[in-house]
């Protein structure tokens, strides 16, 4: 590929031919302010904020669509370019309501940021402002017309990505406003929530998040969406140990800049308050809470004493590390069958403009990981039934992270030893001998393996509830103790052992997986083909 070398703000940069000035500037760490340009959408060059001064050009050039030329001398940060931005920013504020104190976007608003960094200290507009008011676009999206900067990113997302052109600009001049066709709204377009993310200002906001938290109070934790097997990279936004929203985290190989509304909206369960907070042991005198040390010592004894087959039911919501620790414990106890149940949707829901991203039929995040560990899927598409065989036998029975909601209250009563590891109390676990509290994925570190057989890491976004521990820690320390090894110290260590045992994961480690995951060198199987 041929390259061009140019000078931006006095620094030389070499980029492939055809690179825009905006990207060339990014190469050397210069961020040219912009609204209408979005890397995944077409560039209409209409916000006029990314204008830069190109030596020899008759007028300032929009850097988003101007290609870098050899020998070009570009200035983004002084004189003309800065004056232009100052002027454009003043125009933006002429009709902007400046209602930052009650605007959800405040703190993550590009208008706020740009005006603070290079706008005029005092506005000169004293005329009455134009008022559009608020419009409910349906779904989770609320439109505040007065705050809109007319970048049309939302219109282009619906046209180019969702390919469901329900948004448009109506009227012209300063009466121009974003609207839906004859008040039909977004018509539940399954990816419409993304327009809230790409809106650079507070014009499009989430109804779910409305007035819930200030952006600067939120902690962002890199994670993986747990709501289907696509494995969209996300950030979990939390405040005071409560999840407030999920936002897509860019990953060009999985979800681009996007995520679906189905995944985005399903986070409330992470905030559930009905948690098992202590390990419980059922003895002759009923339930007791002896603490982890005593409970695990007692469990170890019972496991060693247990004769007969060991069976387990796990959930595909559990991480690879949790499942690997379970597998290792089972192997240590003489081997046995692990089954899992997971919900399946009737259809896939692809994003037409970026079909790599698809809401998969498999609605559990780690079905692929479960399969690679030899787990067997049972039950129906609504994740019920299929446990007759597991519940029937004597010997030991382990249930991990499956709430057994559809099971009778005497589930597992025929087992010689029934161990239930879960985050939430399960009525079907009342026959259990041990009820051990484990953390949810949001409270622990781990990996999921996506439908594309891509291993991706997530980090803890919440503090563990009570004394709950990650399942890998509970099961891993039991297995280690039975083997006379030291207990695993970290999820990463459990993964290393897993990688040594499963051919698909050979050579992988947390470091190798990195922040955006690693595709295991195998063709991706489509959902439903398995």
């Amino acid at each position: 590929m041929s390259t061009v070398t140019l000078t931006i703000d006095g620094r030389q940069v070499t980029v492939p031919e055809g690179t825009s000035l905006l990207h060339a500037a990014q190469e050397i760490g210069v961020e040219v302010p912009h609204y209408c340009y979005h890397p995944a959408l077409s560039a209409p060059a209409q916000c006029r904020l990314c204008l830069v001064d190109v030596e020899g050009a008759p007028k300032p050039m929009p850097s988003c669509v101007t290609q870098a030329q050899d020998g070009q001398v570009v200035r983004t940060d002084d004189g003309l370019a800065r004056e232009m931005r100052k002027g454009v920013l003043e125009f933006y504020l002429i009709n902007h309501p400046l209602d930052c104190p009650i605007c959800d976007q405040s703190g993550e608003c590009k208008l706020q940021d740009y005006v603070h960094s290079e706008g005029r200290a005092h506005g000169r507009g004293i005329e009455p402002k134009r008022v559009f008011g608020r419009d409910d676009f349906g779904g989770d999206v609320l439109f505040y017309g007065d705050r809109c900067v007319m970048c049309t990113r939302c219109v282009r997302f619906m046209e180019e990505m969702a390919q469901d052109p329900v948004l448009t600009v109506v009227e012209r001049g300063d009466r121009a406003v974003i609207d839906t066709f004859f008040e039909q709204g977004l018509r539940d377009s399954p990816y419409a929530g993304n327009i809230v993310d790409i809106c650079p200002v507070g014009a499009l906001v989430s109804k779910d998040f409305l007035h819930k938290a200030r952006a600067w109070d939120l902690d962002h934790t890199p994670s993986v969406c747990p709501n289907c097997s696509q494995g969209c990279n996300i950030d979990i936004h939390t405040r005071d140990n409560v999840v407030h929203r999920l936002k897509p985290r860019e990953n060009p190989e999985v979800n681009g800049h996007w995520m679906c509304d189905y995944g985005r909206g399903r986070y409330e369960w992470m905030n559930r308050g009905d948690r098992i907070e202590e390990p419980f042991v059922r003895g002759d005198g009923g339930w007791s809470a002896p603490g982890w040390h005593a409970a695990l010592a007692s469990l170890r004894e019972r496991l060693e004493a247990c004769r007969g087959p060991v069976r387990a039911v796990a959930a595909a919501h559990a991480s690879n590390e949790d499942l690997a620790a379970l597998r290792e414990l089972m192997d240590r106890l003489g081997g046995g069958d692990i089954v899992y149940r997971s919900p399946r949707a009737p259809d896939e829901v692809p994003l037409p403009g970026f079909p790599v991203l698809t809401r998969r039929r498999d609605l559990a995040p780690n079905t692929r990981g479960a399969e690679l560990l030899g787990l067997r899927r049972v039950g129906s598409d609504d994740a019920t039934g299929g446990l007759e065989e597991v519940a029937a036998g004597a010997g030991a029975l382990i249930a991990l992270a499956d709430e057994l909601a559809d099971q009778p209250e005497d589930f597992g009563s025929r087992a010689e030893l029934f161990v239930y590891l879960g985050a939430h109390p399960a009525p079907a676990a009342r026959s259990a001998h041990f009820v051990l509290p484990v953390t949810t994925f949001a409270e622990q570190e781990g990996t999921f393996t996506s439908v594309q057989t891509r291993v991706q890491r997530f980090e803890p976004a919440l503090r563990a509830a009570g004394h709950a521990q990650p399942a890998w820690q509970v099961l891993g320390s039991l297995a280690a103790s039975l083997a006379g090894r030291p207990a695993p110290a970290s999820a990463s260590e459990v993964f290393d052992r897993l990688a040594a045992g499963v051919p698909e994961y050979e050579g992988l480690s947390y470091d190798r997986i990195g922040a955006r995951g690693t595709a295991v060198d195998r063709p991706a199987a489509l959902a439903g083909e398995r």
Partner: protein, 430 residues
């Protein structure tokens, strides 16, 4: 045959049939020498047609004055993709009314021009985009097209030459911005009438993403005459840099407003005083907008030595534009006129680019405030600042056009602004 007013100084080339209803029909047009240019074009071939137009020095009559022959030569030679010719008949510049007359009185002249231009550029389809308000003109051109198709001047196998050129008249919905060439293309394609970012230029990626040339009605109307008589013939009028004749649309405070076809380089004062009968008895000339509302205002002093050609008006500090001469006498309230023009641009801004969308309406509001006596001197600085921010910063030049009269009027008629501003102040004190 007294088309509103005629004058002895006129050289009626493209306007020769104005006021002559018989010339509207195919028969009448042919009796008056029509379609001889097309016949000659088919004989001499496309390359020679372009050479003749280049030799004539014809410049685009839509306002920018770009040499027409040169524009045509930008079209790719190889006919790998369809080529299109667009005729811009979305005449919407305030003060302009020449294209309407060219279409109303002489539709075949335009059709002939379109056919020759399309032939020269290897285009099989020409579109005539009429503004939505041109109801009568659209009827006239539709009838003329039917006649032209019937007589074998348009459509398949034109005059037995094997050349196929279709001509379609399309009526827009009536928006100023659709007169901007790329806005017109979007509108023709059924999209919002919003100008496109250039590059790519229309000659590479135009209507339906195909190579396209777009010419004004008046430009194309001159083409049959140039091809029939040769490029040198056309140069007998006008100046070296602005050859030929041009329709001047004179409106405002003159005794005889109207369309006058004059050789380029005609003195402005002669146009106003001699051809148009001057301003009303007892009045004096105050200001002239020489090229439609988008160009800077001139004061009486500027007009004195000004000649009406591209370079002449530029030397006087304005632009010839589409030669729509708006004459204002001493009764005129300049601030009100400027506000009225800026208000027009605010209404017609497509709303894409921020400086134009917000700037035009902000300017209108500030000017209204000054008009109402509630302005201050700092408002003038704000207006000039705004104008600078609106010039050269947008996709098309609509915002430049809105800024031009503001800047020139503050420069030349600052006193009038100050009078309004201070009248307000003294009223408050009293």
């Amino acid at each position: 045959m007294a088309y509103p007013y005629v004058h002895a100084s006129e050289v009626r080339v493209i306007s020769r049939n104005f006021g002559d209803p018989a010339a509207r029909t195919l028969e009448g047009y042919r009796e008056r020498g029509g379609y001889r240019g097309l016949t000659r074009a088919l004989e001499i071939g496309p390359a020679t047609v372009i050479d003749e137009v280049k030799a004539s020095g014809l410049r685009g009559r839509g306002g920018a004055g770009f040499p027409t022959g040169l524009k045509w030569s930008f079209m790719p030679r190889a006919a790998v993709k369809p080529h299109y010719l667009l005729c811009n008949a979305d005449e919407s510049e305030p003060g302009t009314f020449k294209d309407r007359e060219l279409i109303r009185w002489d539709p075949h002249q335009l059709i002939e021009g379109c056919l020759i231009a399309a032939y020269a550029m290897g285009s099989r389809h020409a579109y005539i985009y009429l503004r939505g308000e041109f109801f009568e003109a659209s009827q006239v051109i539709a009838r003329a097209l039917e006649e032209a198709y019937g007589a074998g001047f348009a459509g398949a196998d034109i005059l037995g030459s094997g050349t196929h050129i279709d001509v379609t008249a399309h009526v827009g919905a009536g928006a100023y911005i659709c007169g901007e060439e790329t806005g017109l293309m979007n509108s023709l394609e059924g999209r919002r009438g919003e100008p496109r970012v250039k590059p790519p230029f229309p000659a590479a990626v135009g209507v339906y993403s195909m190579p396209t040339t777009i010419n004004n009605v008046e430009t194309l109307a001159a083409v049959p005459h140039i091809v029939e008589h040769g490029g040198e013939w056309y140069r007998q009028w006008g100046t070296d840099k602005s050859p030929g004749t041009k329709l001047f649309c004179v409106s405002g405070h003159v005794e005889k407003p109207g369309n006058y076809e004059l050789p380029l380089g005609f003195p402005m004062m002669e146009l106003i005083e001699d051809v148009c009968g001057g301003v009303a008895e007892g009045r004096t000339l105050k200001s002239v907008i020489p090229g439609g509302s988008s160009v800077p205002l001139m004061d009486a002093e500027d007009c004195r030595e000004c000649t009406l050609c591209y370079e002449g008006v530029e030397a006087a500090g304005s632009m010839l534009g589409c030669a729509s001469v708006i004459v204002m006498d001493d009764r005129t309230d300049i601030v009100r006129e400027v506000r009225r023009m800026v208000q027009f641009y605010a209404h017609e801004s497509c709303g894409q680019c921020t400086p134009c969308r917000e700037g035009t309406s902000w300017m209108t509001q500030v000017l209204r405030r000054i008009e109402a006596g509630r302005g201050s001197e700092s408002d003038l600085d704000t207006l000039l600042d705004m104008s600078a921010q609106m010039t050269g910063t947008t996709i098309c030049v609509l915002s430049d056009s809105a800024a031009a009269p503001v800047v020139s009027s503050i420069e030349k008629f600052r006193d009038e602004y100050l009078a309004l501003i201070h009248r307000g102040e003294s009223a408050e004190v009293a």
